[in-house]
C-alpha cells in the first residue's frame, strides 16, 4: 500500500511540474528552464510507473524505451527549423497512436469491464485513431508527399463523412451497451478501423495554409486521447496532463481561427481556397516593378524598416539572409522590426522560430497588434513571401473571401516592397490589391536571391 502512495505522490509532483512548466512558458527568458522542468516531471512519472508492483516483461519495456528514445533523439536533432510543422504533426501522431494502442491493449486484456471503462476505452481508441491518421495526413500535406497540399474534395464528401461519424457513434453505443463486451471484438476492430479512416477524411479537405488550425486542433486531440487513456487505466495524472494539453490546443485553435476571421467549422469543412474565386472587384492599375538597385537606394535612405515574413520565406529558406540584411540596415542607422501575423507560416509561431534561428533577438519580433498602430511611421515595409495576411481588401472589400480577417496594414507604411516570384495570387486565390497601390513596388525574383542581391548592393559601397 505504501508503494502505491509513494507512486501517487510522484504523480502529484509530476503534475505540478507540468503546470509550472506551462506557466513559465509565458516569457522567452524562462521558457527553456520551464521546458526542462516539464521534462523532469515526465521522467519522474515514468520512473514512478516502473516501480508499480508486479511489473514484468522488463526486456520489452527496456526495448521500447530504447528504440523510442533513439528515434526521438534522431528526429529532434535532425529536423530543419523550416520543417517544424511537419515534426510537430508527426509527434502529435505518435502520441495519438500510443493512446490508440493502449486502448486496444486494455480491451484485449480485459474485455469484460465496467460500462464506464468500456466507454473510456472507446473514446481513447476513437480520439487516438483520429489523431494518428489525421496527423499523418497533415504531415503528408505539408511535405506534399503522397497527397497534394491543396484541399481534396469530392462529391458527397460531407455525406460520406457524416455516415462515417454516424457509424462510429452508433457502433460506440452498441459496443458500450452490449451486455457481454467480450463478444464485441469484431465490432471493436471495426471501430478502430473507422476511427483511422475518419482521421484521414477530416484532414484531406483542408488546404495547406489552414494547417496552423489543423495542427493546433490535432495537438488538442492528442491531449484528449491521453486524458481518455487516463480514464481507462484510472490514472489521475494522465487526466491532468492530457487536459492541460487539450486546453492548450483549444486555445491555439481559437487564436488561429480568430486571426483568419473564420469559424472552426468553416476551416474544417469548407475546403477554403479550393475554388479560385474571381476577384469580385476588378483590381485597377498596374503593379510597379522596381529593380534591386533602386530598392537599395530606398532602403539606404530609410530610417525605419519592417520585415513582414510569410510562408514564402520558409520555402526560400531566406531567414538568414533576411537577418543579415536587417543587421546591415541597423548599422546603417535604421530601426529594424519584424512584424509577424499570427497565421503566417504553417503553424502558430512558425515565423518566430525561423527568425530566432537566424539570431533575430526576440525584442525585434512584433505581433500584428503591436505593429499596426505605428505602421504609418515606418519608411519601408518589406513583405517577404506573405500575401493574404497583408491584403488590404480584408479591411474594406465585403465581397472578398478574406473580408474581416485582421491583417498587417503594410499599405499604410510610406513605401512597401513586395518580394515575390511572380504576380500569382496567394493561397486563397485572391488578387492582392496591395500590389497595385501607389506606394507599393514589386521586387520580382526568388526571395532569398533578392535579399542577397540587396546585401551585395550594401556591401559594394
Amino acid at each position: 500500500m505504501s508503494l502505491t502512495i509513494f507512486i501517487t505522490i510522484c504523480y502529484i509532483i509530476s503534475s505540478v511540474l507540468f503546470v509550472i512548466g506551462l506557466k513559465r512558458m509565458s516569457s522567452p527568458v524562462s521558457a527553456r528552464k520551464a521546458n526542462q522542468l516539464s521534462a523532469v516531471g515526465m521522467l519522474i512519472a515514468i520512473v514512478a510507473t516502473l516501480l508499480t508492483r508486479g511489473m514484468m516483461e522488463w526486456q520489452w519495456i527496456a526495448f521500447g524505451l530504447a528504440v523510442g528514445t533513439g528515434i526521438g533523439i534522431l528526429a529532434a536533432t535532425r529536423v530543419a527549423m523550416t520543417s517544424m510543422p511537419q515534426m510537430v504533426g508527426l509527434l502529435n501522431g505518435s502520441g495519438g497512436l500510443a493512446s490508440f494502442i493502449v486502448g486496444w491493449a486494455a480491451y484485449h486484456y480485459q474485455p469484460e469491464s465496467s460500462l464506464l471503462t468500456t466507454i473510456s476505452t472507446y473514446l481513447a481508441v476513437l480520439i487516438g485513431g483520429v489523431t494518428f491518421t489525421g496527423s499523418f495526413i497533415a504531415w503528408a500535406k505539408l511535405e506534399e508527399k503522397f497527397v497534394t497540399g491543396k484541399p481534396i474534395l469530392f462529391a458527397g464528401q460531407k455525406i460520406v463523412n457524416s455516415l462515417l461519424l454516424g457509424a462510429l457513434i452508433v457502433g460506440g453505443i452498441i459496443f458500450c451497451l452490449h451486455p457481454d463486451p467480450a463478444d464485441n471484438y469484431p465490432l471493436f476492430v471495426a471501430i478502430m478501423v473507422l476511427s483511422l479512416i475518419l482521421g484521414v477524411m477530416v484532414v484531406i479537405p483542408i488546404g495547406g495554409a489552414d494547417m496552423p488550425v489543423v495542427i493546433s486542433l490535432l495537438n488538442s486531440y492528442s491531449g484528449m486521447a491521453g486524458a481518455a487513456t487516463g480514464f481507462v487505466i484510472i490514472n489521475s495524472m494522465l487526466i491532468v496532463a492530457g487536459s492541460l494539453v487539450g486546453a492548450s490546443g483549444i486555445i491555439l485553435t481559437r487564436i488561429m481561427c480568430k486571426a483568419m476571421n473564420r469559424s472552426l467549422t468553416n476551416v474544417l469543412f469548407s475546403g477554403f481556397g479550393s475554388v479560385t474565386k474571381k476577384a469580385a472587384s476588378e483590381v485597377k492599375g498596374e503593379a510597379k516593378a522596381i529593380s534591386v538597385k533602386d530598392a537599395y537606394y530606398v532602403l539606404e535612405a530609410a530610417r525605419s524598416v519592417v520585415f513582414v515574413p510569410g510562408y514564402g520565406m520558409a520555402v526560400a529558406q531566406a531567414q538568414h539572409a533576411v537577418r543579415e540584411l536587417g543587421k546591415i540596415l541597423e548599422n546603417n542607422g535604421a530601426e529594424v522590426r519584424y512584424a509577424i501575423h499570427p497565421v503566417a507560416g504553417r503553424m502558430p509561431g512558425h515565423m518566430n522560430v525561423l527568425l530566432a534561428e537566424a539570431d533575430v533577438p526576440y525584442d525585434q519580433l512584433f505581433e500584428m497588434d503591436a505593429i499596426n498602430p505605428i505602421i504609418d511611421t515606418i519608411d519601408v515595409a518589406v513583405v517577404i513571401g506573405a500575401n493574404d495576411v497583408v491584403n488590404p481588401a480584408a479591411r474594406h472589400d465585403k465581397s472578398s473571401p478574406i473580408y474581416g480577417m485582421p491583417i498587417i496594414n503594410v499599405d499604410k507604411a510610406k513605401t512597401v516592397f513586395v518580394l515575390k516570384r511572380s504576380m500569382r495570387s496567394g493561397f486563397a486565390g485572391i488578387e492582392n490589391e496591395l500590389f497595385y497601390y501607389d506606394n507599393t513596388r514589386m521586387v520580382f525574383g526568388d526571395a532569398k536571391e533578392t535579399v542577397q542581391a540587396l546585401i551585395a548592393e550594401f556591401k559594394s559601397v
Binding site: M55, A76, M81, A106, I251
Partner: protein, 105 residues
Amino acid sequence: METHLDPISLINLIFLFVIAIFLGVELISKVPSILHTPLMSGSNAISGITIVGALLAVGLTPGSALCTALGTLAVIFATVNVVGGYLVTDRMLRMFKAKPTGEKK
C-alpha cells in the same frame, strides 16, 4: 492492469478533468505568440504522458503475448513523442535570445 471504473471514481476523475482544462486555459492564454511553436511542441511532449499507460500495458498484462507486443509498440511511440518533443522544444528555445546589451547604441 486495473481497468474497473466505478461511478464514484469516474465523478472524481471528471472533476479533475474539468478543473485541469480550466487551469490549462488560464496558463496557455498567457503565452505570447512568439512562443507558440515551442509551446505546441512542449505541450505535445506532455501529451506523451500516455507512456504511463503504455508501460502498464506491457508490464501488467501477464500471459498475453499480443498485449506485450501492443504495449511495446505503444511504449516506442509514446517515447518518441516524449523524447522528440522535449528535445526539439529545447532546441527551439535555445535559439530565442534577447538583444545583447552591448550591441545597443
